[in-house]
């Protein structure tokens, strides 16, 4: 049996994208094969390694576990959407500066998990960073430098209390 393809529209890194794919195609495969956004990687294909992490409607998801039909209409951010106007995202700069990337396969997922963490918690503790990135595996075992990178990027964020005061 071959299932009919469907037209599915969603928003990727701020742009409207339309694909014509089988509805059970994994979001990861649609990003990589149909939209040529190959930053998101497939590691385990089981939702255990986090290499395929992207942000969908403000939440972190493993794109290998999302049937693309469930992403219809969603706002998706991939690692390609972190840099802005040719400027690296502070997390990307911190990963470069602190040696947070070794072979690089886990890096896109680590960056997206870290971006998710900082979006909800601009100044996380080391324990919170470890929890936020616990679903992402680095086969080079470079975890300490990855955590240090996130800590370094977070240090550039104002303390929540300070920004509140500032807003007033």
């Amino acid at each position: 049996m071959s299932v009919a393809r469907q037209a599915i529209e969603f928003f990727v890194n701020g742009e409207t994208r339309n694909v014509h794919v089988p509805p059970m195609k994994r979001l990861l495969d649609v990003l990589r094969e149909d939209l040529y956004l190959t930053g998101s990687k497939e590691g385990c294909g089981e939702g255990e390694c986090g290499s395929c992490s992207v942000r969908m409607n403000g939440e972190l998801v493993n794109s290998c576990l999302v049937p693309v039909l469930q992403a219809k209409g969603a706002c998706i951010q991939t690692v390609e959407g972190l840099a802005c106007d040719g400027e690296l995202h502070p997390l990307q700069q911190a990963f470069l500066h602190c040696g947070g990337a070794q072979c690089g396969i886990c890096t896109p997922g680590m960056l997206m998990a870290a971006a998710q963490l900082l979006a909800n918690n601009p100044r996380p503790t080391m324990a919170e960073i470890r929890e936020g990135l616990a679903g992402n595996l680095c086969r080079c075992t470079g975890f300490k430098r990855i955590f240090d990178s996130v800590l370094s990027a977070a240090a550039q964020n104002e303390l929540p209390m300070a920004s509140e005061t500032h807003a007033r």
Binding site: V3, P23, G47, L69, E131
Partner: protein
């Protein structure tokens, strides 16, 4: 990716009524899929047998957490992130909030649903021990109407439940009567994130004048499905927690559980750890430190 996306139909009916109509129209032919954290793993491995799937993701009627004077009602498609985020769940059912925070990783918690956890029926299901010791009731829905079953009767065997072919889990009802209970939940796995439990034990108890008035103990990964340990509970009811009674309870647990050897652990290790977890809880009741 060893699965073939073109071999599986997937539709998103968008409403609960439309989903139920589809199920009723062809009972047994459709497989519901919510967050996909279980079925998509099978899909990638090329071992997803279901050919026609109904997406329950994004159906608002199934994703809610409501608080009434007596109960908290959790929609089947509430995610573990939703549970973790709920102040009502944290206040009245801290073991469930804790279990939700342990499930997989942040990326899994944002997609995995509590209804999916129950229907999947894994013996190691992370939310099950907490739901069992909180006297959860499961509300099922079909075009024929709704019905409720106590959670202790929901699982009927390994990965088998009382769900009829045209039914969905609609919600989980938890009675808000455990505020005075001492509560315990501990999962033992290879590591904190991602690991499937070797053993998990939950308990709630009311102790008055050093005597156990009420106690509920439930376990995952110690039988074909998550279950209450009734004989262990009976060995404790009405007793003061002397070292002798604790030893009797340990023996009751060891006689009651039926774990297996598998890739994650051995039956012998699971038994020893489960008895130790029970003892840890019971000793904490004696010493007065509330455990959660």
């Amino acid at each position: 990716m060893r699965g073939n996306a073109e071999a599986h139909e997937l539709i998103a009916p968008g409403s609960l009524d439309a989903a139920l109509d589809l199920l009723a129209g062809a009972p047994g032919q459709w497989t519901p899929i919510a967050g996909g954290t279980e079925l998509m793993v099978a899909h990638a491995a090329g071992r997803l047998n279901a050919k026609r799937l109904i997406s329950l993701w994004g159906i608002p009627d199934l994703r809610f957490i409501e608080t009434t004077a007596e109960n908290i009602v959790i929609g089947a498609c509430a995610t573990f992130h939703d549970l973790r985020d709920s102040s009502a769940v944290a206040a009245d059912f801290p073991l469930l909030a804790k279990a939700a925070s342990w499930i997989g990783s942040i990326a899994n918690q944002s997609r995995a649903t509590v209804g999916g956890n129950l229907v999947n029926g894994s013996p190691a299901a992370d939310s099950s021990p907490a739901l069992l010791v909180y006297d959860a009731e499961i509300e099922l829905v079909s075009v024929r109407g709704k019905r409720r079953v106590v959670y202790t009767q929901f699982h009927t065997g390994y990965k088998r439940t009382v769900l009829e072919k045209d039914e969905l889990v609609y919600a989980i009802h938890l009675p808000r009567r455990f505020a005075q209970h001492r509560q315990y939940l501990r999962k033992v796995g290879t590591r904190r994130a991602m690991a499937i439990s070797k053993v998990a034990l939950a308990a709630t108890a009311l102790v008055r004048e050093e005597s156990v008035c009420e106690i509920r103990v439930a376990a995952a990964s110690l039988a074909a499905f998550p279950a209450r340990l009734y004989r262990t509970e009976e060995s404790l009811i009405g007793h003061v927690l002397t070292p002798e009674i604790i030893q009797i309870a340990r023996r009751a647990l060891l006689a009651e559980v039926v774990p297996i050897d598998d890739i994650r652990s051995t039956a012998e290790y699971r038994k020893s750890v489960a008895a130790n977890l029970l003892e840890e809880f019971l000793v904490s009741l004696k010493t007065g430190g509330p455990q959660q």
